[in-house]
Amino acid sequence: MLKYILKRILTIIPVVIAVSFIVFFIMDFVPTDPAVTALGDGATEEQLNYYRETHGLNDPLIVRYARYMAGIFRGDLGTSYANQLPVWDLFFDKFPNTLRLALASVVVTVLLSLPLGILAAVKENTWVDTVCSTLSFVGLAMPNFWLGLLLIMLFAVNLHWLPSTGAAGFSSLILPAITCGTGNMAALTRITRSSMLDVLRQDYLRTARSKGQSERTIIFRHAFRNAQIPVVTQIGIQMSTLIGGAVLTERVFAWPGVGAFMVDSIQKSDFEVVTGFVIMLAIFVSLVLLLVDVLYAFLDPRIKAQYSRN
């Protein structure tokens, strides 16, 4: 099992390198000039040229990439052209906010989706199922940034119960978490429902019933435990998407996270920031996916056996 984890951690490295190259390469085509970003609009052509020379901006792509990657392996993520700060510091200034939002969203999603999905499956084809399915259906179609605006409208502007922007304290986390969480909730409810439906048809539930087990225990201990894998997979995917930056939600709520900052950096052609952030995010996302895969082993002993075999 441990060997499996180590092997997986090792495969993160080539992925990160590939990702960094792709981003670095494409960023090269962004029309903004990093020198202008660094020196501002008022700089003269002479100053810009000097800047480009001293910062190696005129070198070919491969050279610049190699230099950048050499820095990465030394632990240096580069420096922002826009504000001269180390990318490392910038990342770990913003990332905790993104992480907080991601975790809060996942909690919201899981707390709502799992009961709804299980309920819809157990009461399949009754009005309960129809209501749950309709709710998920509507939730899936709603653009989450619009939901954010509506929530601000209702709770901040009309009712004055919650703040509309900023990241100070717990109350400002609520609306953004609900915004991110709701869209995902629709998808997770669907998956929970469909996974439970598959399991509810299985014979071993009948065996449990014949022992005299109660329906509730059968649903939660026997059925749900077998339905967990697709659910956990989806939670993992959602978590990794949220880490990647819930850009739109961050914009709506002025949440100082990674996503919004990256959008600005892209437009300023601050490629060291963008590449550095993407690398860090790729590492974290890969770790989350690895965590999910490890979790599988604890949920299903057959999968654990597979890992040990390989």
């Binding site: 981003v23 029309p31 899936l140 605006l149 739109l248």
Partner: protein, 293 residues
Amino acid sequence: MKKNQDAAISVKENRALEVWRQFRRNKGAMIGLALLIVLVLVAVFADVIWDYENDIIQMQIGNRLAPPSWEHPFGTDNYGRDMLARIGYGTRYSLLIGFVSVLIGTVIGVPIGAISGYVGGKVDNVIMRIVDTFTIIPSLLMTIILVSVLGTNLFNLMIALSISTIPVMTRITRASVMVVRNNDYIESARAIGAPTGLILLKHVLPNCFSPILVQATLRVGSSIISAAGLSYIGLGVPLPTPEWGALLSASKSFIIKAQHMCLFPGLAIMITVMVINLVGDGLRGALDPKLKR
């Protein structure tokens, strides 16, 4: 020979008819289809219904931020323009972007996925690693980078969204092909010496048709939402195009005074996506005989 071809065509026709009959039974899907047709008509005839210069662009300062009324069922915006006209006209952009980007993504992604799934081995490995790297980069970010590179206009937005659709279509095609590839009739076709391309076209792909079609329909909805999102942060369509996301972006500043500006464009997006998903779900139900309802 001709008889066989006729028989083959009539089998296909019968299948299409059977699918349609199943589809018709699904009330939700039929409602969705009807509404979708309405939306498409509005998009196509938008120029006839409204005059672009007068209704959409021309500012009428006297009537700014008016709430919904008989004359302006969705109210007016901060320049006094009729919201109904702007939203109605915006149908063009969303539908166009949604369908075209998915179409391009499918046309490129499906063959790649089919080859990857069918041939397997090293080719499959290489292709999937490339697809994986694009999947790890959050798709919205990827799209933002692409738009920043290409420039902010409708065409580039479609290109960027197409590119982010490709990995999804590749994956789903590959998965279906891998399942179908193991079936016996593929073995028989190979055994009589049919070339790979022919096998793929005539035997493999027609059987993967349904999951690909269903996924494509569902991706239209997410493309529309992504396009709106990008326009919201100013990276989608250029001003003053009345795309729904752009309309929402404009409503930000008036969230206190004119809440109708925020409500209706979002509703338009939501309803359009729901309508498309209804049709998509209906298709899935009609194409898959074993689906649990």
